[in-house]
Protein backbone atom coordinates (compact mmCIF):
# COMPACT_ATOMS: atom_id res chain seq x y z
CA UNK A 1 0.00 0.00 0.00
CA UNK A 2 1.45 3.33 -1.10
CA UNK A 3 2.19 5.93 1.52
CA UNK A 4 2.36 3.62 4.53
CA UNK A 5 4.52 5.32 7.10
CA UNK A 6 5.63 4.52 10.58
CA UNK A 7 4.28 7.44 12.60
CA UNK A 8 0.73 7.68 13.83
CA UNK A 9 -1.49 10.63 12.90
CA UNK A 10 -4.38 9.48 15.03
CA UNK A 11 -3.98 8.07 18.49
CA UNK A 12 -6.73 7.04 20.86
CA UNK A 13 -5.60 6.06 24.32
CA UNK A 14 -7.54 4.58 27.19
CA UNK A 15 -10.82 6.19 26.14
CA UNK A 16 -13.68 5.61 28.56
CA UNK A 17 -17.11 7.17 28.18
CA UNK A 18 -20.22 6.84 30.32
CA UNK A 19 -23.78 7.86 29.38
CA UNK A 20 -25.25 8.05 32.85
CA UNK A 21 -24.48 4.63 34.33
CA UNK A 22 -23.99 2.99 30.95
CA UNK A 23 -20.36 2.42 30.00
CA UNK A 24 -20.28 3.10 26.26
CA UNK A 25 -16.48 2.87 25.91
CA UNK A 26 -14.16 0.91 28.13
CA UNK A 27 -10.47 1.86 27.89
CA UNK A 28 -10.44 1.97 24.10
CA UNK A 29 -6.97 2.39 22.63
CA UNK A 30 -5.59 2.21 19.10
CA UNK A 31 -3.38 4.16 16.76
CA UNK A 32 -3.70 4.83 13.06
CA UNK A 33 -0.53 5.35 11.07
CA UNK A 34 -0.17 7.87 8.30
CA UNK A 35 -1.46 6.56 4.98
CA UNK A 36 -3.46 3.70 6.51
CA UNK A 37 -7.05 2.90 5.69
CA UNK A 38 -8.41 1.85 9.06
CA UNK A 39 -11.71 0.00 9.23
CA UNK A 40 -13.56 0.34 12.51
CA UNK A 41 -16.01 -2.51 12.92
CA UNK A 42 -18.61 -3.38 15.48
CA UNK A 43 -22.28 -4.18 15.88
CA UNK A 44 -24.91 -1.52 16.54
CA UNK A 45 -24.35 0.14 19.90
CA UNK A 46 -20.79 -1.16 20.19
CA UNK A 47 -19.33 2.34 20.59
CA UNK A 48 -18.15 3.17 17.06
CA UNK A 49 -19.96 6.49 16.72
CA UNK A 50 -19.14 7.44 20.31
CA UNK A 51 -15.44 6.89 19.56
CA UNK A 52 -15.67 9.03 16.43
CA UNK A 53 -17.55 11.83 18.19
CA UNK A 54 -14.89 11.92 20.90
CA UNK A 55 -12.21 11.97 18.21
CA UNK A 56 -13.88 15.09 16.78
CA UNK A 57 -14.23 16.80 20.16
CA UNK A 58 -18.03 16.57 20.07
CA UNK A 59 -18.17 14.37 23.15
CA UNK A 60 -16.00 14.64 26.24
CA UNK A 61 -14.48 11.38 27.47
CA UNK A 62 -14.62 10.50 31.16
CA UNK A 63 -11.10 9.19 30.84
CA UNK A 64 -8.36 8.98 28.22
CA UNK A 65 -7.57 11.22 25.31
CA UNK A 66 -7.34 11.55 21.54
CA UNK A 67 -4.46 13.05 19.60
CA UNK A 68 -4.85 14.05 15.97
CA UNK A 69 -1.69 15.39 14.35
CA UNK A 70 -0.31 15.93 17.83
CA UNK A 71 -3.23 17.94 19.21
CA UNK A 72 -6.17 17.03 21.42
CA UNK A 73 -9.45 17.95 19.64
CA UNK A 74 -11.24 18.58 22.97
CA UNK A 75 -8.62 21.07 24.11
CA UNK A 76 -7.35 22.51 20.83
CA UNK A 77 -9.93 21.85 18.10
CA UNK A 78 -8.45 24.44 15.77
CA UNK A 79 -5.08 22.70 15.63
CA UNK A 80 -6.41 19.14 15.77
CA UNK A 81 -9.26 19.46 13.25
CA UNK A 82 -7.75 21.76 10.62
CA UNK A 83 -6.48 18.76 8.65
CA UNK A 84 -9.44 16.49 9.36
CA UNK A 85 -12.40 15.79 7.10
CA UNK A 86 -15.52 14.22 8.59
CA UNK A 87 -18.55 12.62 7.01
CA UNK A 88 -21.22 11.61 9.52
CA UNK A 89 -23.50 8.58 9.48
CA UNK A 90 -26.84 9.63 7.98
CA UNK A 91 -25.81 13.28 8.12
CA UNK A 92 -28.21 16.13 8.66
CA UNK A 93 -27.14 19.18 6.70
CA UNK A 94 -28.62 22.67 6.78
CA UNK A 95 -31.71 22.32 4.57
CA UNK A 96 -31.91 26.04 3.79
CA UNK A 97 -28.53 26.05 2.01
CA UNK A 98 -27.80 24.91 -1.50
CA UNK A 99 -24.88 22.49 -1.92
CA UNK A 100 -22.78 25.35 -3.29
CA UNK A 101 -23.56 27.61 -0.34
CA UNK A 102 -22.84 24.91 2.23
CA UNK A 103 -19.50 23.98 0.69
CA UNK A 104 -18.60 27.67 0.44
CA UNK A 105 -19.42 28.14 4.14
CA UNK A 106 -17.27 25.14 5.08
CA UNK A 107 -14.45 26.56 2.95
CA UNK A 108 -14.74 29.82 4.87
CA UNK A 109 -14.53 27.99 8.20
CA UNK A 110 -11.26 26.44 7.00
CA UNK A 111 -10.02 29.86 5.87
CA UNK A 112 -9.83 29.08 2.14
CA UNK A 113 -9.59 32.04 -0.25
CA UNK A 114 -12.64 32.86 -2.38
CA UNK A 115 -10.94 31.61 -5.57
CA UNK A 116 -9.92 28.34 -3.91
CA UNK A 117 -13.45 27.92 -2.57
CA UNK A 118 -14.97 28.43 -6.02
CA UNK A 119 -12.60 25.89 -7.57
CA UNK A 120 -13.07 23.39 -4.76
CA UNK A 121 -16.86 23.66 -4.76
CA UNK A 122 -17.02 22.97 -8.50
CA UNK A 123 -14.59 20.06 -8.47
CA UNK A 124 -16.08 18.41 -5.37
CA UNK A 125 -19.66 18.63 -6.60
CA UNK A 126 -18.46 17.05 -9.83
CA UNK A 127 -16.61 14.36 -7.88
CA UNK A 128 -19.66 13.35 -5.84
CA UNK A 129 -22.04 13.61 -8.79
CA UNK A 130 -24.07 16.57 -7.54
CA UNK A 131 -23.09 19.24 -10.05
CA UNK A 132 -26.59 19.45 -11.50
CA UNK A 133 -27.99 19.90 -7.99
CA UNK A 134 -25.48 22.58 -6.97
CA UNK A 135 -28.02 25.39 -6.82
CA UNK A 136 -30.89 23.42 -5.31
CA UNK A 137 -31.78 23.57 -1.61
CA UNK A 138 -30.45 20.62 0.41
CA UNK A 139 -33.94 20.16 1.84
CA UNK A 140 -34.93 18.70 -1.54
CA UNK A 141 -32.13 16.11 -1.61
CA UNK A 142 -32.60 12.38 -1.09
CA UNK A 143 -30.74 10.63 1.76
CA UNK A 144 -28.16 9.28 -0.66
CA UNK A 145 -27.53 12.73 -2.11
CA UNK A 146 -27.09 14.22 1.38
CA UNK A 147 -24.61 11.43 2.11
CA UNK A 148 -22.69 12.25 -1.06
CA UNK A 149 -22.67 15.95 -0.21
CA UNK A 150 -21.40 15.06 3.25
CA UNK A 151 -18.39 13.35 1.66
CA UNK A 152 -17.79 16.50 -0.43
CA UNK A 153 -17.92 18.60 2.76
CA UNK A 154 -15.36 16.24 4.33
CA UNK A 155 -12.99 16.84 1.41
CA UNK A 156 -13.28 20.65 1.21
CA UNK A 157 -10.05 21.25 3.17
CA UNK A 158 -8.04 18.58 1.34
CA UNK A 159 -7.73 16.71 4.65
CA UNK A 160 -4.80 14.62 5.81
CA UNK A 161 -7.11 12.48 7.93
CA UNK A 162 -10.53 11.52 6.65
CA UNK A 163 -12.98 10.22 9.26
CA UNK A 164 -16.10 8.59 7.89
CA UNK A 165 -18.95 7.05 9.82
CA UNK A 166 -20.80 4.54 7.60
CA UNK A 167 -20.00 6.64 4.51
CA UNK A 168 -21.92 4.62 1.94
CA UNK A 169 -25.07 3.98 3.95
CA UNK A 170 -28.13 5.14 2.02
CA UNK A 171 -26.30 5.17 -1.31
CA UNK A 172 -27.40 3.12 -4.29
CA UNK A 173 -25.05 0.30 -5.47
CA UNK A 174 -23.61 2.43 -8.28
CA UNK A 175 -22.77 5.30 -5.94
CA UNK A 176 -21.37 2.82 -3.38
CA UNK A 177 -18.99 1.40 -5.98
CA UNK A 178 -18.03 4.92 -7.06
CA UNK A 179 -17.24 5.96 -3.51
CA UNK A 180 -15.26 2.79 -2.78
CA UNK A 181 -13.05 3.66 -5.75
CA UNK A 182 -12.82 7.23 -4.50
CA UNK A 183 -11.68 6.12 -1.04
CA UNK A 184 -9.12 3.76 -2.57
CA UNK A 185 -7.78 6.59 -4.73
CA UNK A 186 -7.64 8.93 -1.75
CA UNK A 187 -5.63 6.37 0.20
CA UNK A 188 -3.26 6.03 -2.75
CA UNK A 189 -2.74 9.80 -2.53
CA UNK A 190 -1.45 9.16 1.00
CA UNK A 191 -4.50 10.26 2.97
CA UNK A 192 -5.18 8.49 6.23
CA UNK A 193 -8.71 7.17 6.19
CA UNK A 194 -10.71 6.02 9.20
CA UNK A 195 -13.92 4.26 8.20
CA UNK A 196 -16.57 2.98 10.53
CA UNK A 197 -18.70 0.48 8.66
CA UNK A 198 -21.09 -2.42 8.93
CA UNK A 199 -20.20 -3.49 5.41
CA UNK A 200 -17.45 -6.03 5.99
CA UNK A 201 -17.02 -6.59 2.29
CA UNK A 202 -16.34 -2.88 1.88
CA UNK A 203 -13.81 -2.87 4.71
CA UNK A 204 -12.09 -6.02 3.41
CA UNK A 205 -11.70 -4.44 -0.02
CA UNK A 206 -10.28 -1.09 0.92
CA UNK A 207 -8.81 -1.26 4.43
CA UNK A 208 -5.23 -1.97 5.39
CA UNK A 209 -5.93 -2.12 9.11
CA UNK A 210 -8.90 -3.11 11.20
CA UNK A 211 -10.16 -2.34 14.68
CA UNK A 212 -13.05 -4.34 16.10
CA UNK A 213 -15.11 -3.07 18.99
CA UNK A 214 -17.82 -4.85 20.93
CA UNK A 215 -19.69 -3.60 23.97
CA UNK A 216 -17.30 -0.67 24.24
CA UNK A 217 -14.14 -2.78 24.23
CA UNK A 218 -11.60 -3.28 21.49
CA UNK A 219 -11.51 -7.00 20.65
CA UNK A 220 -9.02 -6.78 17.79
CA UNK A 221 -6.72 -4.14 16.42
CA UNK A 222 -4.13 -4.62 13.72
CA UNK A 223 -3.35 -5.10 10.02
CA UNK A 224 -6.14 -6.77 8.05
CA UNK A 225 -3.94 -9.68 6.91
CA UNK A 226 -3.14 -10.33 10.56
CA UNK A 227 -6.80 -10.46 11.50
CA UNK A 228 -7.52 -12.96 8.73
CA UNK A 229 -4.46 -15.02 9.67
CA UNK A 230 -5.25 -14.78 13.36
CA UNK A 231 -8.71 -16.22 12.95
CA UNK A 232 -7.81 -19.02 10.53
CA UNK A 233 -6.60 -21.30 13.29
CA UNK A 234 -9.70 -23.36 12.69
CA UNK A 235 -10.64 -24.19 9.16
CA UNK A 236 -14.22 -24.85 8.20
CA UNK A 237 -15.68 -27.40 5.80
CA UNK A 238 -19.14 -26.70 4.43
CA UNK A 239 -21.13 -29.73 3.30
CA UNK A 240 -24.48 -29.81 1.55
CA UNK A 241 -26.39 -33.07 1.82
CA UNK A 242 -29.61 -34.37 0.37
CA UNK A 243 -30.75 -35.01 3.94
CA UNK A 244 -29.01 -34.51 7.25
CA UNK A 245 -29.57 -37.26 9.83
CA UNK A 246 -28.71 -37.44 13.50
CA UNK A 247 -26.31 -40.32 12.78
CA UNK A 248 -24.30 -38.27 10.31
CA UNK A 249 -23.90 -35.39 12.74
CA UNK A 250 -22.94 -37.70 15.64
CA UNK A 251 -20.40 -39.61 13.61
CA UNK A 252 -18.81 -36.43 12.25
CA UNK A 253 -18.53 -34.99 15.75
CA UNK A 254 -16.79 -38.18 16.81
CA UNK A 255 -13.96 -37.64 14.31
CA UNK A 256 -10.66 -36.55 15.87
CA UNK A 257 -10.15 -33.86 13.25
CA UNK A 258 -13.54 -32.23 13.88
CA UNK A 259 -14.06 -29.67 16.60
CA UNK A 260 -17.73 -28.85 16.10
CA UNK A 261 -20.61 -29.41 13.70
CA UNK A 262 -23.44 -26.97 13.11
CA UNK A 263 -26.59 -27.85 11.20
CA UNK A 264 -28.72 -25.52 9.16
CA UNK A 265 -31.43 -27.31 7.16
CA UNK A 266 -29.51 -29.64 4.82
CA UNK A 267 -26.18 -27.87 5.30
CA UNK A 268 -23.40 -28.74 7.70
CA UNK A 269 -20.73 -26.34 8.91
CA UNK A 270 -17.87 -28.50 10.17
CA UNK A 271 -15.24 -26.69 12.20
CA UNK A 272 -11.86 -28.44 12.10
CA UNK A 273 -9.35 -28.72 14.90
CA UNK A 274 -6.33 -28.08 12.68
CA UNK A 275 -5.46 -26.34 9.44
CA UNK A 276 -5.65 -29.53 7.48
CA UNK A 277 -7.76 -30.52 4.48
CA UNK A 278 -9.74 -33.53 5.75
CA UNK A 279 -12.51 -33.44 3.15
CA UNK A 280 -11.74 -37.08 2.17
CA UNK A 281 -12.22 -38.27 5.71
CA UNK A 282 -15.46 -36.30 6.07
CA UNK A 283 -16.95 -37.48 2.77
CA UNK A 284 -16.23 -41.15 3.57
CA UNK A 285 -17.84 -40.76 6.98
CA UNK A 286 -20.96 -39.28 5.37
CA UNK A 287 -21.12 -42.11 2.81
CA UNK A 288 -20.61 -44.60 5.64
CA UNK A 289 -23.76 -43.16 7.28
CA UNK A 290 -25.57 -43.47 3.93
CA UNK A 291 -25.73 -39.75 3.36
CA UNK A 292 -25.93 -38.27 -0.15
CA UNK A 293 -23.36 -35.51 -0.53
CA UNK A 294 -24.25 -32.67 -2.90
CA UNK A 295 -21.23 -30.43 -2.31
CA UNK A 296 -18.21 -30.23 -0.02
CA UNK A 297 -16.05 -27.12 0.28
CA UNK A 298 -13.15 -26.12 2.40
CA UNK A 299 -14.16 -22.68 3.51
CA UNK A 300 -11.59 -19.91 3.43
CA UNK A 301 -11.85 -17.41 6.25
CA UNK A 302 -13.33 -13.99 5.37
CA UNK A 303 -13.33 -10.82 7.37
CA UNK A 304 -16.92 -11.58 8.27
CA UNK A 305 -15.90 -14.90 9.84
CA UNK A 306 -13.06 -13.24 11.68
CA UNK A 307 -15.35 -10.45 12.78
CA UNK A 308 -17.99 -12.83 14.11
CA UNK A 309 -15.36 -14.90 15.89
CA UNK A 310 -13.79 -11.81 17.38
CA UNK A 311 -17.16 -10.66 18.68
CA UNK A 312 -17.85 -14.10 20.07
CA UNK A 313 -14.48 -14.07 21.82
CA UNK A 314 -15.06 -10.59 23.18
CA UNK A 315 -18.36 -11.47 24.81
Amino acid sequence: MAGLASHSVLSVSNLTKYYGNFKALDSVSFTVDEGCVYGYLGPNGAGKTTTIRIMLGLLKPNQGEVQIAGANPSKDPVQALRSVGYAAELPVLQAFFTAEQLLDLMGRVFGLSSQTRRDKVDSLLDLVGLKEWAKKKIGRYSKGMVQRLSVAVALINDPVVLIMDEPTIGMDPEATAHFRTLFTNLSKEGKTIFISSHLLDEVERICTHVGMINKGKIVFNGPINQVLEGFTQRWVVEAELEKVTENIVTSLKALDSVNDVRVEENKLTIELREKKDVRGEISSEIFKQQGVLLSLNLHKITLEDAYLQALKGGQ
Binding site: R53, L56, G57, L58, L59, K60, P77, V78, Q79, A80, L81, R82, V84, Y86, A88, P91, V92, L93, Q94, F96, F97, L105, M106, R108, V109, F110, G111, V153
Partner: protein, 271 residues
Protein backbone atom coordinates in the same frame (compact mmCIF):
# COMPACT_ATOMS: atom_id res chain seq x y z
CA UNK B 1 -7.54 37.83 13.27
CA UNK B 2 -8.09 34.22 12.28
CA UNK B 3 -10.46 33.77 15.24
CA UNK B 4 -12.36 36.91 14.18
CA UNK B 5 -12.72 35.51 10.68
CA UNK B 6 -14.20 32.32 12.06
CA UNK B 7 -16.58 34.26 14.32
CA UNK B 8 -17.70 36.43 11.39
CA UNK B 9 -18.34 33.26 9.35
CA UNK B 10 -20.62 31.96 12.11
CA UNK B 11 -22.33 35.38 12.33
CA UNK B 12 -23.13 35.21 8.60
CA UNK B 13 -24.30 31.64 9.01
CA UNK B 14 -26.58 32.59 11.93
CA UNK B 15 -28.21 35.40 9.93
CA UNK B 16 -29.08 33.03 7.14
CA UNK B 17 -30.31 30.38 9.56
CA UNK B 18 -32.54 32.83 11.44
CA UNK B 19 -33.90 34.43 8.28
CA UNK B 20 -34.63 31.01 6.80
CA UNK B 21 -37.19 30.63 9.57
CA UNK B 22 -40.50 31.98 8.43
CA UNK B 23 -41.54 32.74 12.02
CA UNK B 24 -38.90 35.46 12.38
CA UNK B 25 -39.92 37.12 9.11
CA UNK B 26 -43.59 36.78 10.05
CA UNK B 27 -42.97 38.48 13.40
CA UNK B 28 -41.18 41.38 11.70
CA UNK B 29 -44.15 41.85 9.35
CA UNK B 30 -46.60 41.63 12.28
CA UNK B 31 -44.58 44.23 14.23
CA UNK B 32 -44.60 46.70 11.35
CA UNK B 33 -48.33 46.05 10.85
CA UNK B 34 -48.95 46.61 14.57
CA UNK B 35 -47.07 49.90 14.50
CA UNK B 36 -49.00 51.04 11.49
CA UNK B 37 -52.23 50.17 13.30
CA UNK B 38 -51.10 52.09 16.40
CA UNK B 39 -50.40 55.12 14.23
CA UNK B 40 -53.75 54.85 12.47
CA UNK B 41 -55.61 54.58 15.79
CA UNK B 42 -53.58 57.42 17.30
CA UNK B 43 -54.27 59.56 14.26
CA UNK B 44 -58.00 58.80 14.37
CA UNK B 45 -58.12 59.67 18.09
CA UNK B 46 -56.15 62.82 17.39
CA UNK B 47 -58.63 63.73 14.65
CA UNK B 48 -61.70 63.04 16.80
CA UNK B 49 -60.61 64.44 20.17
CA UNK B 50 -58.18 67.06 18.88
CA UNK B 51 -55.17 67.77 21.03
CA UNK B 52 -56.50 65.87 24.04
CA UNK B 53 -54.96 62.54 23.00
CA UNK B 54 -51.25 63.32 22.72
CA UNK B 55 -51.76 66.81 24.04
CA UNK B 56 -48.95 69.02 22.91
CA UNK B 57 -46.79 65.98 22.20
CA UNK B 58 -47.99 65.12 18.71
CA UNK B 59 -44.57 66.31 17.56
CA UNK B 60 -43.20 63.31 19.43
CA UNK B 61 -45.68 60.82 17.97
CA UNK B 62 -42.71 58.91 16.54
CA UNK B 63 -41.42 58.26 20.08
CA UNK B 64 -44.87 57.04 21.11
CA UNK B 65 -45.06 54.66 18.13
CA UNK B 66 -41.55 53.26 18.58
CA UNK B 67 -42.08 52.63 22.30
CA UNK B 68 -45.37 50.84 21.67
CA UNK B 69 -43.72 48.38 19.28
CA UNK B 70 -40.61 48.02 21.40
CA UNK B 71 -42.31 47.16 24.67
CA UNK B 72 -43.67 43.85 23.41
CA UNK B 73 -42.94 42.98 19.80
CA UNK B 74 -39.21 43.69 19.73
CA UNK B 75 -38.83 41.62 22.91
CA UNK B 76 -40.86 38.84 21.31
CA UNK B 77 -38.69 38.86 18.18
CA UNK B 78 -35.61 38.80 20.45
CA UNK B 79 -37.03 35.74 22.24
CA UNK B 80 -37.83 33.90 19.01
CA UNK B 81 -34.46 34.62 17.34
CA UNK B 82 -32.43 33.64 20.42
CA UNK B 83 -34.69 30.76 21.47
CA UNK B 84 -33.79 28.70 18.42
CA UNK B 85 -30.24 29.90 18.02
CA UNK B 86 -28.48 27.08 19.86
CA UNK B 87 -31.21 24.50 20.43
CA UNK B 88 -32.32 24.08 16.82
CA UNK B 89 -28.81 22.98 15.90
CA UNK B 90 -29.06 20.18 18.47
CA UNK B 91 -32.65 19.31 17.57
CA UNK B 92 -31.88 19.08 13.86
CA UNK B 93 -28.48 17.47 14.40
CA UNK B 94 -26.67 20.24 12.51
CA UNK B 95 -24.46 21.31 15.45
CA UNK B 96 -22.09 18.47 14.52
CA UNK B 97 -21.27 19.98 11.17
CA UNK B 98 -19.81 23.19 12.58
CA UNK B 99 -18.43 21.88 15.85
CA UNK B 100 -16.47 19.11 14.11
CA UNK B 101 -14.56 21.80 12.23
CA UNK B 102 -11.52 23.80 13.42
CA UNK B 103 -13.50 26.23 15.48
CA UNK B 104 -13.58 26.62 19.25
CA UNK B 105 -16.82 26.42 21.18
CA UNK B 106 -16.30 29.99 22.44
CA UNK B 107 -16.03 31.23 18.83
CA UNK B 108 -19.15 29.25 17.94
CA UNK B 109 -21.08 30.71 20.89
CA UNK B 110 -19.94 34.27 20.13
CA UNK B 111 -20.78 33.89 16.45
CA UNK B 112 -24.24 32.55 17.22
CA UNK B 113 -24.90 35.23 19.84
CA UNK B 114 -23.64 38.16 17.79
CA UNK B 115 -25.28 36.89 14.61
CA UNK B 116 -28.68 36.74 16.27
CA UNK B 117 -28.18 40.00 18.11
CA UNK B 118 -27.07 41.91 14.99
CA UNK B 119 -30.14 40.61 13.22
CA UNK B 120 -32.26 41.88 16.09
CA UNK B 121 -30.50 45.25 15.85
CA UNK B 122 -31.46 45.45 12.18
CA UNK B 123 -35.06 44.68 13.12
CA UNK B 124 -34.86 47.46 15.76
CA UNK B 125 -33.53 49.91 13.16
CA UNK B 126 -36.25 48.90 10.72
CA UNK B 127 -38.97 49.43 13.32
CA UNK B 128 -37.58 52.82 14.40
CA UNK B 129 -37.26 53.94 10.78
CA UNK B 130 -40.77 52.73 9.92
CA UNK B 131 -42.23 54.59 12.87
CA UNK B 132 -40.49 57.84 12.01
CA UNK B 133 -41.87 57.61 8.46
CA UNK B 134 -45.37 56.73 9.71
CA UNK B 135 -45.34 59.61 12.23
CA UNK B 136 -44.24 62.08 9.57
CA UNK B 137 -47.04 60.81 7.34
CA UNK B 138 -49.80 60.92 9.95
CA UNK B 139 -48.80 63.77 12.24
CA UNK B 140 -46.66 66.00 10.06
CA UNK B 141 -43.34 67.52 11.19
CA UNK B 142 -41.79 65.71 14.14
CA UNK B 143 -39.53 67.01 16.89
CA UNK B 144 -36.39 65.53 18.40
CA UNK B 145 -35.65 63.29 15.43
CA UNK B 146 -31.95 63.78 16.11
CA UNK B 147 -32.50 61.40 19.06
CA UNK B 148 -33.88 58.63 16.85
CA UNK B 149 -30.48 56.82 16.62
CA UNK B 150 -30.17 56.99 20.42
CA UNK B 151 -33.68 55.60 20.88
CA UNK B 152 -32.78 52.81 18.45
CA UNK B 153 -29.65 51.96 20.48
CA UNK B 154 -31.68 52.04 23.70
CA UNK B 155 -34.22 49.63 22.22
CA UNK B 156 -31.47 47.26 21.12
CA UNK B 157 -29.82 47.46 24.53
CA UNK B 158 -33.11 46.91 26.36
CA UNK B 159 -33.84 43.84 24.25
CA UNK B 160 -30.63 42.27 25.58
CA UNK B 161 -32.39 40.93 28.68
CA UNK B 162 -34.92 38.75 26.87
CA UNK B 163 -32.53 37.96 24.05
CA UNK B 164 -29.95 36.68 26.54
CA UNK B 165 -32.48 34.85 28.72
CA UNK B 166 -33.91 33.08 25.69
CA UNK B 167 -30.38 32.33 24.38
CA UNK B 168 -29.42 30.86 27.75
CA UNK B 169 -32.56 28.67 27.93
CA UNK B 170 -31.89 27.58 24.36
CA UNK B 171 -28.44 26.26 25.27
CA UNK B 172 -29.25 24.99 28.77
CA UNK B 173 -32.40 23.04 27.83
CA UNK B 174 -31.53 22.45 24.16
CA UNK B 175 -35.20 22.66 23.25
CA UNK B 176 -36.53 25.59 21.19
CA UNK B 177 -40.15 25.41 22.33
CA UNK B 178 -39.17 25.24 25.99
CA UNK B 179 -36.67 28.11 25.66
CA UNK B 180 -39.18 30.40 23.92
CA UNK B 181 -41.94 29.46 26.33
CA UNK B 182 -39.84 30.16 29.43
CA UNK B 183 -38.56 33.51 28.16
CA UNK B 184 -42.03 34.49 26.97
CA UNK B 185 -43.53 33.61 30.36
CA UNK B 186 -41.00 35.88 32.06
CA UNK B 187 -41.83 38.66 29.58
CA UNK B 188 -45.55 38.37 30.23
CA UNK B 189 -45.06 38.04 33.99
CA UNK B 190 -42.79 41.08 34.07
CA UNK B 191 -45.35 43.09 32.05
CA UNK B 192 -48.07 42.13 34.54
CA UNK B 193 -46.08 43.00 37.63
CA UNK B 194 -44.41 46.03 36.05
CA UNK B 195 -46.90 48.56 37.56
CA UNK B 196 -46.29 47.03 41.00
CA UNK B 197 -42.53 47.22 40.51
CA UNK B 198 -42.87 50.81 39.30
CA UNK B 199 -44.83 51.62 42.44
CA UNK B 200 -42.26 49.91 44.67
CA UNK B 201 -39.51 51.82 42.92
CA UNK B 202 -41.44 55.04 43.45
CA UNK B 203 -41.59 54.57 47.20
CA UNK B 204 -38.23 52.90 47.78
CA UNK B 205 -36.02 53.96 44.81
CA UNK B 206 -34.79 50.37 44.70
CA UNK B 207 -34.77 48.60 41.35
CA UNK B 208 -36.22 45.09 41.14
CA UNK B 209 -35.51 42.24 38.75
CA UNK B 210 -36.72 42.57 35.11
CA UNK B 211 -38.19 45.94 35.93
CA UNK B 212 -35.87 47.72 33.51
CA UNK B 213 -36.28 45.44 30.54
CA UNK B 214 -38.90 47.40 28.68
CA UNK B 215 -38.62 50.75 30.45
CA UNK B 216 -35.02 51.66 29.62
CA UNK B 217 -35.81 53.40 26.28
CA UNK B 218 -38.58 55.43 27.97
CA UNK B 219 -36.22 56.48 30.76
CA UNK B 220 -33.57 57.50 28.25
CA UNK B 221 -35.98 59.55 26.14
CA UNK B 222 -37.40 61.28 29.22
CA UNK B 223 -33.85 62.51 29.93
CA UNK B 224 -33.60 63.92 26.42
CA UNK B 225 -37.04 65.37 25.68
CA UNK B 226 -40.08 66.57 27.59
CA UNK B 227 -43.22 64.78 26.48
CA UNK B 228 -45.32 64.19 29.58
CA UNK B 229 -48.18 62.50 27.71
CA UNK B 230 -45.82 59.84 26.37
CA UNK B 231 -42.88 59.51 28.74
CA UNK B 232 -42.37 59.22 32.52
CA UNK B 233 -40.82 62.06 34.47
CA UNK B 234 -37.05 62.41 34.17
CA UNK B 235 -35.18 60.20 36.66
CA UNK B 236 -31.43 59.76 36.08
CA UNK B 237 -31.28 57.24 38.95
CA UNK B 238 -33.84 55.00 37.29
CA UNK B 239 -31.99 55.19 33.98
CA UNK B 240 -28.67 54.15 35.56
CA UNK B 241 -30.26 51.31 37.50
CA UNK B 242 -32.10 50.10 34.42
CA UNK B 243 -28.85 50.08 32.42
CA UNK B 244 -27.12 48.15 35.20
CA UNK B 245 -29.88 45.56 35.56
CA UNK B 246 -29.88 44.87 31.81
CA UNK B 247 -26.10 44.44 31.83
CA UNK B 248 -26.16 42.08 34.82
CA UNK B 249 -28.93 39.91 33.36
CA UNK B 250 -27.22 39.72 29.97
CA UNK B 251 -23.78 38.88 31.35
CA UNK B 252 -25.04 36.24 33.78
CA UNK B 253 -27.17 34.60 31.08
CA UNK B 254 -24.31 34.47 28.60
CA UNK B 255 -21.94 33.05 31.21
CA UNK B 256 -24.40 30.28 32.08
CA UNK B 257 -24.88 29.44 28.38
CA UNK B 258 -21.10 29.42 27.84
CA UNK B 259 -20.55 27.16 30.85
CA UNK B 260 -23.14 24.70 29.58
CA UNK B 261 -21.64 24.64 26.07
CA UNK B 262 -18.04 24.33 27.24
CA UNK B 263 -18.61 21.60 29.78
CA UNK B 264 -21.09 19.29 28.07
CA UNK B 265 -21.32 16.98 25.08
CA UNK B 266 -22.67 18.11 21.73
CA UNK B 267 -25.93 16.21 21.67
CA UNK B 268 -27.57 15.13 18.44
CA UNK B 269 -31.14 15.25 19.62
CA UNK B 270 -32.78 16.93 22.52
CA UNK B 271 -32.49 14.79 25.60
Amino acid sequence: MVALRRISTIIGYEWRRALAQKKVLALIVVTIAFQTLVMVVAYELYQSVGTAFLGSDQGFAWVFGVLQGQSFFVQLIAIVIAGGSMSEEYEHGTADLLLSKPITRVEYLLGKFLGGFFLLAIVGALITFADVILSLGFFGAQSGLQFAPLLFLAIVYASLIFFCLSFMFSEVFRGTTLAILLAFTILIASSIISPILDFLYGISSRALPTWAATSFPSFLMSELITARNILPASDPGALAQAALIIAVYAIVSILIAAYRLLTSDVTKKRA
